[in-house]
Amino acid sequence: MAALSELGTPRSGPPAVNAVHETGGPDDALILAAQRGDRAAFGLLYARYSRMVHGILLARVPFSDVDDLVQDVFLQALPRLNALREVSRFPGWLASIARNRATDFHRRTKPIEEFDEQSASAQSDTPAPSANHSSHSSAEAHAVLDAIRSLPDAYREPLILRLVEGMSGTEIAARTGLTHGSVRVNLHRGMQQLREILGRKASPPTGGAL
């Protein structure tokens, strides 16, 4: 197995690929290059889309399994990339692979474990997330994540992409292939429902536990 660590993360610096890639050109050029077997281009696509895939998976599967499944999604996409005739469909195509992978994951695991995020984290070798934000308990973070996951699919996905992955609405629309209007409506309604679930009023809080 060959690690593309230099390619997979924007922080590591640009890989030795053509100028279109280095200047952050349109995704179409990257997709075409990846279809021609350019692994560096595929690595850049991973860098651009892995947050989106991560968010889609996090909306559906336990956190401890998400990283591995992100890898799976890209490994599934690589050999099938040539079958994609219109590169403009790449975002929706990749998102569908991610959603299908999450569905497969649940078919192969016991239903009781599916969304029991806290027990899944406890049983996993992966430490529960708490390293960077010690002010918030892991239980609190899991409770909020569970609340988002209890929302309809159409809301939980954009909310996770916005609140967890830090993507803007414009970015969510571009990466998932949805219209700006759909993303805006889903974010707004999802946030309203999340507030209701968390038992908070729509007005800004004064702090304290969620």
Partner: protein, 383 residues
């Protein structure tokens, strides 16, 4: 125009700006959620790809070529000729190879069948061609895929026939069972015929179930789907569901998070005779239980209601979602299509022009396949 931060309406708008792209006045609640959830963020782990397959070593090729000497080639040719003659005389004639476009079929579990032929788990993807049927039994599941379309998974006890596959239209017929469709083809490309309605993908993923009696149920998980029969249309956005029955066609869709009383009332309205007390009671319950989000159902109800009922529906609908500019009460009560379209678009559930385009590009009439299924069920009646 400047925004007055003391105005609650402006405050709400500013917070929505922050929700959209973290611009405008920060919303403390959203900031806190971002902070709490930050530990779940993608950690930029490196992608690990399988090693590329190396080319055949030169050494092997260098050994192989001298082995192909003339006497050896002649012997091999003789053996090949003998084998060919044997096959020609003794082998059973085989049917002509199947041709034409086909979809890949993969075995996900058990032994799904194309016609009478089982698909082994270990074999390469089989092909489903136009006219062929894919069947799963109690213990089997299968997936259908086409590069430009998406993937359709069949649950156990399902039967699907491939009806059409060309650049502009991909069509299957679901006789019975459950499919899960994840579609990336342009809206309107993928169509599913069922015994009681036609499902048209409008850019989405969804689950469609057909019971042995021909009734069906569609749940949309992403994007939206159109359900159509004899000019009766239902649009099902993400988070909503819709039932369909052979005698009635698509029912009124509703969001699955609506109150139980609302959902029951919608079902009751759909199944009650016009002017019955059950129907009146159902309508009253729908209108009293409806939230703004349930405008989805109210919009559809405008078409299903009689004129007297429609006036009640309009009043409640307008209270929950004020009609946009250009939409009048008189127009809605007369079912003016352009006004109904405008009001639909204002709900933010999908651009209705996508549907109108499909109606123009495809026959708005029921497809021959659905017609055939309807006749089989002997239950055709225009709503």
């Amino acid at each position: 125009m400047t925004k007055n931060p003391t105005n609650p309406e402006n405050e709400k708008m500013l917070n929505e700006d922050y929700l959209w792209d973290a611009s405008g006045t920060p919303d403390p609640e959203i900031q806190r959620l971002e902070s709490v959830l930050a530990d779940f963020r993608h950690a930029d782990r490196a992608l690990v790809l399988p090693a590329e397959r190396p080319a055949a070593p030169r050494k092997f090729r260098a050994l192989l070529i001298p082995m192909l000497t003339l006497p050896r080639l002649a012997a091999a040719a003789a053996i090949l000729l003998a084998a060919s003659l044997t096959l020609f005389f003794f082998a059973r004639p085989k049917p002509a190879p199947e041709t034409g476009p086909a979809w890949d079929v993969a075995n996900l579990q058990g032994a799904p069948q194309i016609g009478t032929k089982s698909i082994a788990a270990s074999q390469a993807p089989a092909k489903l061609r136009v006219g062929q049927t894919l069947v799963t039994n109690n213990d089997s599941r299968a997936s259908l895929s086409e590069a430009d379309l998406g993937e359709i998974r069949l649950d156990p006890n399902s039967r699907v026939r491939l009806v059409q596959t060309d650049a502009n239209r991909k069509r299957i017929q679901l006789d019975v069972g459950t499919i899960h469709a994840a579609i990336w083809a342009p809206p309107g490309t993928f169509v599913v015929d069922t015994p009681s309605a036609v499902a048209i993908d409008l850019g989405c993923s969804y689950t469609l179930h057909v019971s042995p009696d021909g009734s069906g149920e569609l749940h949309t998980t992403y994007g939206w789907v159109g359900f159509h029969l004899h000019g009766r249309d239902s649009f099902i956005p993400a988070g909503a569901m819709c039932s369909t029955r052979p005698e009635l066609g698509p029912g009124i869709p509703y969001f699955e998070d609506a109150t139980p009383a609302f959902r029951e009332a919608v079902v009751q309205f759909d199944s009650s005779a016009e002017n019955s007390t059950d129907r009146s009671a159902a309508l009253a319950k729908i209108l009293s239980e409806a939230r703004a989000h349930d405008a989805l159902s109210l919009w559809h109800l405008l078409f299903r209601a009689n004129p007297a009922e429609r006036a009640q529906v309009y009043a409640r609908f307008a209270m929950l979602v004020p009609p946009p500019k250009g939409v009048t009460r008189a127009g809605i009560l007369n079912l003016d299509q352009s006004m109904l379209d405008l009001w639909w678009n204002s709900l933010g559930l999908g651009e209705i022009s996508t549907w109108r385009f499909w109606q123009q590009s495809a026959s708005p009439q029921t497809s021959p396949n659905t017609q055939e299924l309807l006749q089989k069920k002997q239950s055709v009646s225009k709503p």
